[in-house]
Symmetry: C2
Amino acid sequence: MDKFNVGKHISGKFNEELGDVRNQVLTMGGLVEKQLSDALTAIQTNDTELADRVLDNDGKINAMEMRIDAACGQIIAKRQPTASDLRLVLAIIKTISDLERIGDEAERLAHVAKASFNKDQEHLLVSLENLGQQVLLMLRNVLDAFARMDEEAAFSVHQMDANADRQYEALTRQLMTYMMEDPRSIPKIMDVMWSARSLERIGDRCQNISEYIIYFVRGKDVRHISPEMMENTVRGR
Amino acid sequence: MDKFNVGKHISGKFNEELGDVRNQVLTMGGLVEKQLSDALTAIQTNDTELADRVLDNDGKINAMEMRIDAACGQIIAKRQPTASDLRLVLAIIKTISDLERIGDEAERLAHVAKASFNKDQEHLLVSLENLGQQVLLMLRNVLDAFARMDEEAAFSVHQMDANADRQYEALTRQLMTYMMEDPRSIPKIMDVMWSARSLERIGDRCQNISEYIIYFVRGKDVRHISPEMMENTVRGR
């Protein structure tokens, strides 16, 4: 199925521009995914150099967002897209905003990776690992769904968030117990708490992106509706 | 100065549509401001009924976001706006996304307002008050700047955030001290901590909106640039 209507446009130049901007989003998504993955690795391996690299790269993501946003504005002004072309451009404008903010959360995680933890505090960081891997998988899957504009895959990512939320709740309860047991470690545990929150927010942003994908494919805004209604929309019922 | 180019459009209908969508944003902004203000009052006065009202109203804000988003899509498709008209529509699409998320933070604050605090824990809530009022003022001012598309006023809001950040830092340090002094109260203090975080994020979102205003007026993307460069853009230098 030619979801991008490549054969439809009279102007080959328009095709080229839409394709180019899609590729830029995928490149940006790839970098954001690497940032999150590197930030998680830096936390687990206490690798401050890797954390510094994550911090250095955030500017690249910001620049990409601004460049893609400008390209989308030019496409709207010059090509006056309608129907699914317009939905694609609008979905891209929203997607890059969420990607940029996922990048910001990765930056926050990298700051925590640079904070020094004692040997006997390392279990705190281990407890972040499961949630981190769950959220990284959500990001990978939603970027993959975006590349293929696959509304079923997008819906699957949307459903994964409930699991991430449960893990997050369990983790924060565990961290609060640690704080009560050893009040001196509270500042360190708060660092981990913020990291957990960052991960939970990344999951929410992956959900947002999956909503934009479904909007593009189905032409229907599926934000703020029940899971059942969303599923019906995805399945074209 | 006719920043909205009302005299320019050949189509009176187009004027009407743009004016209508702007009014809808102002209505949405007014409701979000009321939500935040009510949530803060509910926290201070321990008013669970008011908190319930905030929770009930969130659906209205979501519906407004979807309606305005759809109207913007239709304007682009039907009117094919360019230049400042297009910038206005794009600025609106982004603004309502931030407004909706400010609404979500107000909802989180309302949940905390419903949690029961003992008499001897009330000082925790009082400490939120200053930050809350600072952020509410930012929201008011940025909505006012949006109504007039006043780039100077938007820039002032942008600069207010540094103060909100400082207050937030001081508050979290204070809350951590309370946790260390009385570990049994940690779960309650964490509620206050999340509220402080919500307020800090609202300040960030007001900054975002002020960036969209400057983008509309000056035609330049001022995200991710230094305060000096932003000031030069605002002043047309």
